[in-house]
Assembly symmetry: C3
């Protein structure tokens, strides 16, 4: 990132928001990843040493959303819908077309949803407020998330665990565990002694 | 929509087909949604009061296909593959990358499928006729369909029910029920007294 | 394909690699399908009589990857991640957004994955070597793969079998069998006597 907060290699003529903190060894493929960014938090997105995000990654952060990308965390392509907090641990690997959502952004009950829908025609952003608080998502270190997986509000994925491709993860996953399926189920335990690093 | 059946805000230089009926309070983001439209039915697509469809919505309607969008129904992005009928009820909310298909458009048996494949190289549209009739899809009022869900031929989703993200719905869903998974299973009943509106 | 190994109808200004063999009755929609092609094998991709691949098909082949498309096999859109071999049988039909991967391209254990991630910031292709050998995928004749299905390393799909939309196939499928779901499960047996052709 240069002084004007643009990226030399960028195909999109955008800038990196002032409240995004990028370590000098980290890599951001494109400023387009911030097209839906609306956070007003200090350090709303933090890239630590060696962290990287590639094309297809979108930071869809609400006004109070916060995201951390740990050391050498690699995000091929994730849509991060975040009104509270999404923490991606050190050496986490996130494949393509993954979705993290810590919020539903819609009323769960019908009366509220109907009211929201009546407001939509006049609303430029098509954004409704949910009636359930956002719940943070956490990936501990060394986690691997397969392509097109979806991680729902409140989920923690424990250290070293693996989420299979196209899984929908509705509950937290313990450390050193392989889950897969829709809904995701435990399919294997890993040996922590082989796996610690 | 103006007199020439174009949309002022459209990025695509197309027109809205003459047999599409749009209430003056409804919203169509782009005429590109009709790129695959081939229906010859009167009122092949109807947008009722406050209904809206956004980028990524595609009306892939065969010659006899019919779609109705109820009052304040909102479709972020759905591919609607329809040779019979897809009815989306009032205040239904459809998220992005949803697929409705009321038809398989291919022979279910191998001999027919082989014949269809032999005809493909000379066929500009790559369209085969199925050997099973299309079966209508119905969403009753106040239904919420999560992103990347897929609704298969003949399915009815009852009033107020919710379909989880990435679900594949192969069977009808009763009213006031939450289903999720691939295949979709019932995961919760909603209290209709809380939910009616 | 003309003498310069370009396609007259191509929207992408590319060429077909010299080690791709295309029968004169076969159809390739675009040379963009070879954008990620890195195979050095003779006949790395073979299109037999009447075979066709359309937009959205990507041959992501490693240096030793090999793909065969049988007679009248039709691939609407598949990402083929192949370091060993993907065989698509005669009259196989592959729908859109399907993924075949015969390889994980990443170390399964954490220490190896961490090392791979540390190398990424300096690596233009973001490609890591796996520590598990690639395992071939085979589709026998007359197979039908539904849209957005995913076929994992080592899977064989038997003659005439059908894989439902959005299925994740982790194990081989016997002939004349319908599987669906994530993970895919057997949901029906087909009668081979009705089905042979």
């Amino acid at each position: 990132m240069n002084a004007g907060r643009t990226l030399e290699w960028d195909w999109y003529p955008g800038t990196i928001p002032a409240n995004v903190v990028i370590d000098e060894t980290a890599y951001v493929e494109t400023s387009f990843s911030f097209y839906l960014f609306r956070s007003a938090m200090p350090a709303a997105v933090t890239y630590r040493r060696g962290a990287s995000t590639y094309l297809g990654t979108m930071f869809d952060l609400g006004p109070r959303g916060r995201v951390e990308l740990g050391e050498y965390a690699l995000v091929h392509g994730a849509r991060i819908i975040c009104d509270a907090e999404v923490i991606i641990g050190d050496y986490a690997l996130v494949s393509w077309n993954v979705l993290f959502m810590d919020t539903y952004r819609l009323p769960r009950g019908i009366p509220g949803r109907r009211q929201a829908l009546q407001r939509v025609p006049g609303h430029p952003l098509r954004i409704a407020d949910g009636d359930v608080p956002a719940q943070p998502i956490r990936l501990e270190r060394n986690v691997w998330i397969g392509f097109e997986a979806c991680i729902l509000p409140g989920v923690t994925i424990g250290e070293g665990s693996i989420v299979g491709a196209k899984s929908v993860v509705t509950q937290s996953v313990p450390p050193f565990t392989v889950v897969a399926g829709n809904p995701a189920r435990v399919i294997r335990r890993l040996n922590p002694f082989d796996q610690r690093a």
